[in-house]
Symmetry: C2
DNA sequence: CGCCACTTTGAAACAGTTCAACGTCAGTGG
DNA sequence: CCACTGACGTTGAACTGTTTCAAAGTGGCG
């Protein structure tokens, strides 16, 4: 019997490849209890060596680092269906904090159980590996956007990325998707100041590209938004291929 | 018999975990011919679906993207012992170009052979997975440095990172390591203009932190360089642990 | 020797930051 | 029920790190 809590995760994997029943069973069996986190709460700590990884099933989380000046940099956002820190399964220590942006629910997977999966299910292992590779691909796009795009293109790019990601797990409808974070948090992801995020957002609204009321992003002109962002979804690898 | 060409790669893996003889044999058997690339030559193309991945054994390569303005952003540098595009094994299409920065030699691994390894060698599979996770960790540090550090700290951070990486494959000596790229290429990695890279470099030299003659970086004051860079090698995961 | 790619310098322009104040709204308690 | 609070969003103005453009210097190589 499939664990219902894993539905969005299965859906995400199935966008890229097929999942056999035995593989779904193995994941369902490996799934531990559901954990809940309040907005702002840390789900995992810099420097720690967790013995479990968390699969997000509700809310939004971010990976972030703090620099000496006290400023923060968010390096990834995660939504339902994302493994937040699957990389912690093999990395000996966490190189960032994981924090809950909203009220979060997550399913625990012990590294022991994941290890067992890698011993017995090579194809499923490749899919889990793939899921960390997608994180890496997103990191690269953020680097390109941060290094070589203007603030407005960078922000547009993030909205494009999240629309496609939300859509691939069934979280988007009517060209909109949940995006419950503050402007300061968005600034920490884009590497900008909160003031400039505010102004950039106004410009995106003025150009009738998107609206955002701190709960939901609505894309008003998908074509032009992608142009402004120079967005090419190739990096999200939404292609069904056997791996 | 171990394939000598893989020595630096084995050495890199052994920094993190042990490698059994059977695993070294499997990799040696999977290794294909050596390919050579001239400086500036593309080793893999954006949008392509390579059926092989390349393990660098000599020279330096970069992954890069080009934006509409014609500017480039480098998202990763690779040195001998690095798998340049192991992620291409599971991603359906490449989201960047791979280009040779200097004269490069690389060993080809067919995806078919890699797939066979994942079917038969779970532990080795975890190590290969780990090697792509390290790339991801480096991406995250680049994001933090790009978003929240000044140009001088960012550049210092890159030098720190490369010193540790070069050292872990035996390429560093006397506090110096090969770094044969142009200032423009460094600018493309840092997300800066070549002019500002030049000035930032002068400042690092003036403060007696590093010297660089476009062939070799020499670290003059390792302690202070790390401070300036806010460098913490935790993300390079140089800890020997069974995985 | 001369070329070409690369590095260095100067000066003006600009994107984004900082600081400080003000506006808005939801939640809380009197 | 309304005043108070605190977090978040918005605005203006001065400032700064970085870019851009343009020109001059350097050095390796055919």
């Amino acid at each position: 019997m499939d664990d219902q809590r894993l539905d969005r995760f299965f859906r995400r994997l199935r966008v890229r490849d097929s999942l056999r029943q035995a593989e779904r069973d193995a994941l369902s069996k490996a799934a531990g209890p559901t954990l809940h986190f309040a907005p702002g709460e840390l789900m995992a700590h810099y420097g720690s060596s967790p013995s479990k990884s968390l699969l997000l099933i509700q809310g939004m989380a971010a990976r972030q680092n703090t620099v000496e000046s006290g400023q923060q940099q968010i390096t990834a956002f995660h939504i339902a269906g994302d493994f937040v820190d699957l990389h912690a399964f093999l990395l000996s220590r966490l190189d960032h904090d994981v924090s809950a942006m909203s009220a979060v629910a997550a399913v625990e997977f012990s590294h022991e159980a994941l290890r067992q999966i890698t011993e017995e299910f090579p194809h499923l292992t490749r899919l889990l590996w793939l899921s960390t590779l997608l994180d890496g691909a997103i990191h690269r796009q953020w680097l390109v956007a941060m290094g070589r795009l203007t603030a407005i293109a960078h922000m547009a790019h993030l909205f494009c990325e999240h629309f496609v990601r939300a859509d691939s797990v069934g979280l988007a409808q009517d060209m909109s998707f949940p995006f419950e974070i503050t402007q300061q948090e968005l600034a920490d992801a884009l590497g900008l100041s909160n003031v400039h995020v505010n102004r950039t957002l106004q410009e995106l609204r003025r150009q009738d590209l998107v609206s955002w009321d701190t709960k939901t992003v609505r894309i008003i002109d998908w074509e032009r938004l992608q142009e402004v962002a120079q967005f090419d979804p190739i990096f999200l690898d939404v292609v069904h291929t056997p791996r």
